[in-house]
Every structure is written in C-alpha cells, then in structure tokens.
C-alpha cells in the first residue's frame, strides 16, 4: 500500500533518531582521526632514523589510513543495533504492522544503514588523509 520511498523515509528517521547511531557516527570519525594523529606524530618523529629498506617498503602516507580500521569496526557496531534494537524494544512489531511487507522493511533498513555508513566512512577517510598529510 505504501510506497518503498515511504518505508525508506521511515527507516531513515528511525536510524538517525537513535542515540546509539549518533554516538557511533561521532566515535567512528573522532577515534579514527585520533589514531591517525597519533601515528602521524610517531612516524614524523622517527622518520629520520628509518633504514633505507624501511623507507623503501613503507610509504609514510599509509599510516594515515590505519584509523580506518576503527571506522570500520565502529560502523559495524552501528549497524547491529539498527536492526536488533527494534527486536529488543518491540518496535519491530509496530514496524511490521505499519509495513506488513517484510522484504521491503529489511531492504530499506539495509539501504539506509549502507548510506549512513558510506557517508561516515567517506568523511572519516578524507579527514584522516588530510590530517596524516599535514
């Protein structure tokens, strides 16, 4: 009855109105940048002592993106409550009452989480690259 766009909008509201989403998004960027900053300082301080082989095999810029591991982990953590939280709180019953077509709901949830994590990953990686290069 309701269009897929309506379900998508609804899932979007549900995802971004959760505290866990906001916390995870903030952490995914902040922690990644913190790790990158730390590595950048270490690499910058020791680069003069590296052996020629080290310099050959390690590109200093690489270290910038190590924080990306944290981004990935935290964004995974974001995706989990996005789906399971609804089951814990019972919201899922309301969701399926409002939209009985489960496939649509799951597809909308997946799309919304993918869009949010992609955006966060992009922000975090670009920021790390700029920070590491500085």
């Amino acid at each position: 009855m309701t269009s897929f766009a309506a379900v998508l909008r609804s899932e979007w509201t549900k995802l971004i109105s959760l505290r866990s989403t906001k916390v995870a998004l903030a952490l995914s960027v902040v922690l990644a940048l913190a790790l990158t900053a730390l590595l950048a300082v270490v690499v910058g301080a020791t680069h003069g002592d590296w052996t020629p082989e080290d310099r050959q095999s390690r590109e200093p810029g690489e270290a910038s993106l190590i924080g990306g591991i944290l981004t990935a982990v935290i964004l995974t953590v974001l995706g989990v409550p996005a789906a399971t939280g609804a089951y814990v709180s019972g919201t899922i019953r309301l969701t399926f009452t409002a939209t009985p077509r489960r496939g649509r709901v799951l597809a909308a949830k997946a799309l919304v989480v993918a869009a949010v994590t992609l955006a966060a990953g992009l922000v975090s990686n670009v920021a790390m690259f700029l920070l590491g290069g500085a």
Binding site: T2, A6, S10, K14, S17, L18, G85, T91, L94, T95
Partner: protein, 222 residues
Amino acid sequence: MHGTRSARNHLRWLAQAGGLPASRVEEVLEMAGLAHVAGRRIGGFSLGMSQRLGIAAALLGDPETLLFDEPVNGLDPEGIRWIRTLLRRLAAGGRTVVVSSHLMHEMEATADHVLVIGRGRLIADTSMEDFTRRSAGHYVHVVAPDAAALRTLLERAGGRVSDGADGDGALAVDGLEPARIGDLAAAHGLRVHELTPRSASLEAAFMELTQDNVDYRPLEAS
C-alpha cells in the same frame, strides 16, 4: 518503542511508514496531551505517558475503527477523564470504538453497548442500559407515606415488594414498571413521594451473568 527515541520521532517514523503527512504527528501529540514532552526520550516516560503515546500512534491514521485494550491502565485521574472524553468524542464523530476492560465502573460511564465474553464464548451482546436493567438488581425505589397499603396493592398486582436497603420505610419493587406503580397508586388514591427506577451496577449485572462462566473462582472465606 525504543527507549532512546523521542516521542515525536517515534510518531514521525510511524507516520512516514504509513505515508501520512508530518502535520498529523503534531496533531496527535496535541490530542494526547504530549506536545510539551514531544522531544523527550520515551525511555523516561511513565506508564501513563506511554499509554498516551500509544493512543497518539493509534490516532495517526485517523482510523474508522479503534481497538483499545485496557486503555485506562496506568493513567492518573486526569488521564482517565481525558481518555473517557476522547473515546466519547471519537464515537460521536461516527467512529467505532471497541474497548476491552475489566474496570466495570469505567465502562459503565463510557460504553453504549456491552459484549461479555466468558471462556471464549459470547454470553451477552446488548446495550448497556438493557444489560443492567435485565439483571436481578433492577428494581423501582418507592417512597410513600402509607407504605403498608401500597405494598398490599402492589403485591396484588403481581409485584414483588421488599423493604428498601436503607431501612427508612421505602419499598423496593420488582416486576412492575414505574408507570404502572404510579397509575395503581393514583387509582387507589395513595400518595407517592418518590418513584425511581434503580439499576444494578454493571459490575453486579456482570457478576450475575458470569457466575457460571469463570475459570478461577476463589473459595469462599468461611
């Protein structure tokens, strides 16, 4: 309902899923008396506030038929009055409002029609007025200066007369309609000071009807 989501966001996602305009959210928040706490997390809501939020959600789509399961639970006296007027207003607007409740006094004050279900079977389907009148608790309260003469007269006419519960000489008449009692008294020149049909409470009528249909009956205290 998810605890960290605000009441407004909870209603918003529901409205969006149903393809309803966002303006409905503010309308039902207003109707449910939650407008001033719309931005607060649902997790901090009292039972009464959650109840109001649930009702707000039910009203979102402005449905023709509304089903309420024990809507008064957890509400404060002000909330109970609110829901009573809300239910009446919804019904007056032409909607069908179905309420399930075990609170007899509440239903007596609210409902027009009663359905009684016992052990999975429908044992009554009638108007509230009819339901309480047909029970044995229905009688006519009669106050007359010459009660003894009136009593004889009414008993001869087929009424079952007993002393009123208050012990003030009033009569409780069963089996005769108030009009018939008044006519009889007038025909015999007997004065009547008070003539009031009294109905059993819904609770009494319910108990009478369902006494053979209960699953769990406590032993009578000896």
